[in-house]
């Protein structure tokens, strides 16, 4: 078990170092960092001095070391476009993205699990077939198109929901939240549904498959033979045993919520880090891009580590094998 843990930690470290190297190469070689910071009438001596002060004359490995050291301390340089420290920009926008992801994930779980349970228990009913067709559409329709259609139907035609932005936000000092105001909730519904739909169909299909599998097992047959009430079999025995794999795989899917969050934020002009990243790509704002790269790598690696650890806790076979 310890070996498994060390292996995973080592792998995580390798990923982070590779991504940091990529970010460093982008930061250092795509465009001249000095040229971006000075005005036209800066003298050559001043430039050279700045160059020296920034450590750009050191050897590359030393520079990489300094880059990593600065990154660990939260110093990612200034955004070319906005002239502000990248860390500040990201910190301002992170709450919006996290709130959107959590609400979307919540919707996906609350709607997806009951749909999956129902269509797993009654696979032949017409409602289950309808769910399946709906889920196929959820997989085939691109996120951005779903978002646009929701805007068109609920925002433009029916005029029920705002089509862009976060609504009013409350500043808690270290966190700005839209979840304490009516207009904040009002604004989050459409983007969260857009982002949650793919997850919802995914969770639904997963739960359905698991339930179908479990209902064929001996212990369910035995429970039936003993005359245990149907409700207790379905929810106490079957559902409970399907939830473990469902939750771990759903947890892994948090990563794709971040990825598709970029698209959703862009469609709804949601002021999160995904929108910041898209803007950074199209204006080639390299410090923002490389920092986002690092941040996403860190989030993904952490999610994967946590899921691996959960597997260890949940599945006793893994513990025995890796001992």
């Amino acid at each position: 078990m310890i070996r498994f843990l060390i292996e995973r930690l080592f792998q995580a470290a390798v990923v982070l170092i590779v991504v940091a190297l990529l970010a460093f190469v982008m930061f250092r070689f795509a465009g001249d960092p000095v040229a971006q910071m000075v005005s036209l009438d800066t003298t050559a001596e001043d430039r050279a001095a700045l160059r020296e002060a920034m450590g750009l004359n050191n050897s590359l490995p030393v520079q990489f070391g300094q880059f990593v050291l600065r990154a660990v301390q939260g110093d990612f340089g200034l955004s070319y476009q906005m002239g502000q420290p990248v860390a500040t920009l990201l910190a301002e926008r992170l709450p919006a993205s996290i709130e959107l992801s959590l609400v979307a994930f919540g919707i996906a779980l609350i709607v997806g699990i009951p749909m999956g349970v129902y269509s797993g228990l009654y696979p032949e009913s017409w409602l289950s077939r309808a769910f399946l067709i709906l889920s196929l559409a959820g997989i085939s329709l691109p996120t951005f198109f779903i978002g646009i259609m929701l805007i068109l139907i609920f925002g433009v035609e029916l005029n029920l929901f705002p089509t862009f932005g976060r609504g009013e936000t409350v500043d808690l000092g270290w966190w700005t939240t839209g979840l304490l105001t009516g207009s904040g909730w009002h604004s989050i519904i459409l983007p969260a549904c857009t982002l949650g739909l793919f997850q919802m169909t995914f969770i639904m299909r997963l739960v359905r498959a698991e339930i179908l599998d479990v209902m064929r097992t001996d212990y369910i047959k035995f429970a039936r033979a003993r005359g245990i009430a149907k409700g207790r079999i379905n929810y106490g025995h079957a559902l409970k045993n399907t939830l473990v794999p469902v939750l771990t795989i759903a947890g892994l899917q948090l990563g794709s919520i971040i990825a598709f969050g970029i698209v959703t934020e862009s469609v709804f002009q949601w002021p999160g880090i995904g929108l910041l990243f898209i803007q950074a790509i199209s204006t080639v704002d390299i410090p923002v891009m490389s920092t986002y790269l690092l941040l996403v790598a860190l989030i993904f690696v952490s999610i994967n580590l946590i899921v691996d650890l959960l597997y260890l806790l949940v599945d006793p076979r893994l513990r025995v094998r890796s001992r």
């Binding site: 085939s140 990825a259 990243f277 950074a280």
Partner: protein, 309 residues
């Protein structure tokens, strides 16, 4: 005794296991028809399309923003209406589908070739080769495909000037999608190759002194193609969606060239002013294309990959 043989290839195909599963599922038949029709229309776009969206001479700004032909104010010459530049929407959709299918097919082919090669190497030789290749696969698979594609696009953008990037945009997208898909192929191929490696026919080939490359190419390769075909089909849908998403975000195909993603992007600008057709028809085309690819993928999985049944 020879089993009764049907006279020609098509009849034999329809008679096979795959053919039976195809015939007996109306949804698959419809998906197959839609897919063939759309691919055909896309390939023949220069022949079918009434207008050439690249020909500046045929475009008249006076015709811009016409609604579809059956609406009041529509012009029968422009079946689905025109866009803001006066281009015939039906023609741009045909050309756009062509771009999207081209990008999807080429990137999936590249990913399959790379995945087959590296997967076979890893599965057949094992040891260090396997460890290195599979670590790369593991690392890459922690990131969703669309994320990898976005990052590659961003990295290439930071090294190329804007004009250079626009020129190379199609290749950047193909590269980005191929790079984000190959790990799945490699992982599957490796798993099957490891199983096949220990079968008698491979051992027999080894005993008679055939080299590892010949064994991989002639003996193992044909036996791992089934699951690869399934993954390739499913990822064709992923690649087409990926291209559309990147182009929609303004990071893929430049706006001047029609692809389904750029068309939807243009249509999205007119969402508040009522010219819905510019958004809806390209969007429906994309959805229909991907849906039919996914349904065909499901059928192939049923036929070729008995494990996941």
């Amino acid at each position: 005794m020879n089993p009764e043989r049907s006279p020609n290839l098509i009849m034999r195909l329809l008679d096979s296991d795959a053919g039976y599963k195809f015939r007996s599922s109306p949804v698959t038949v419809v998906a197959g028809l839609v897919f063939v029709l759309m691919i055909g229309a896309a390939l023949l776009a220069p022949v079918i399309a009434p207008f050439d969206p690249f020909d500046k001479g045929s475009i008249d700004l006076m015709n811009s923003l016409l609604p579809p032909a059956w609406n009041s104010g529509g012009d029968p010459a422009f079946l689905l209406g025109t866009d803001n530049q006066g281009r015939d929407l039906f023609s741009t959709i045909l050309y756009g589908t062509r771009t999207s299918v081209f990008v999807g097919a080429v990137s999936v082919s590249l990913a399959v070739v790379a995945g087959l090669f590296l997967g076979l190497l890893a599965g057949y030789f094992g040891g260090l080769v396997d460890a290195i290749i599979m670590r790369i696969v593991d690392i890459q698979m922690t990131f969703p495909a669309i994320m990898v594609a976005l990052l590659i696009d961003g990295v290439t953008r930071s090294f190329l000037s804007r004009d250079q990037h626009d020129e190379l945009a199609v290749f950047v997208i193909i590269l980005a999608m191929a790079l984000s898909i190959w790990p799945q192929v490699a992982r599957t191929v490796r798993a099957s190759a490891m199983v096949e490696k220990s079968r008698e026919y491979v051992m027999a080939a080894q005993v008679i002194g055939r080299g590892p490359w010949l064994i991989m190419a002639r003996h193992i390769l044909p036996n791992v193609m089934g699951p690869v075909l399934v993954i390739a089909t499913i990822n064709l849908g992923v690649a087409i969606l990926g291209e559309a998403t990147l182009s929609f975000l303004g990071l893929g195909i430049p706006a001047g060239e029609p692809s389904l993603g750029t068309l939807i992007r243009i249509g999205n600008d007119f969402i508040f002013s009522g010219e819905r057709w510019m958004l809806i028809y390209p969007g429906l085309t994309l959805a229909l294309l991907v849906l039919s690819v996914n349904l065909l993928g499901d059928w192939l999985r049923d036929v070729l990959d008995p494990k996941s049944r």
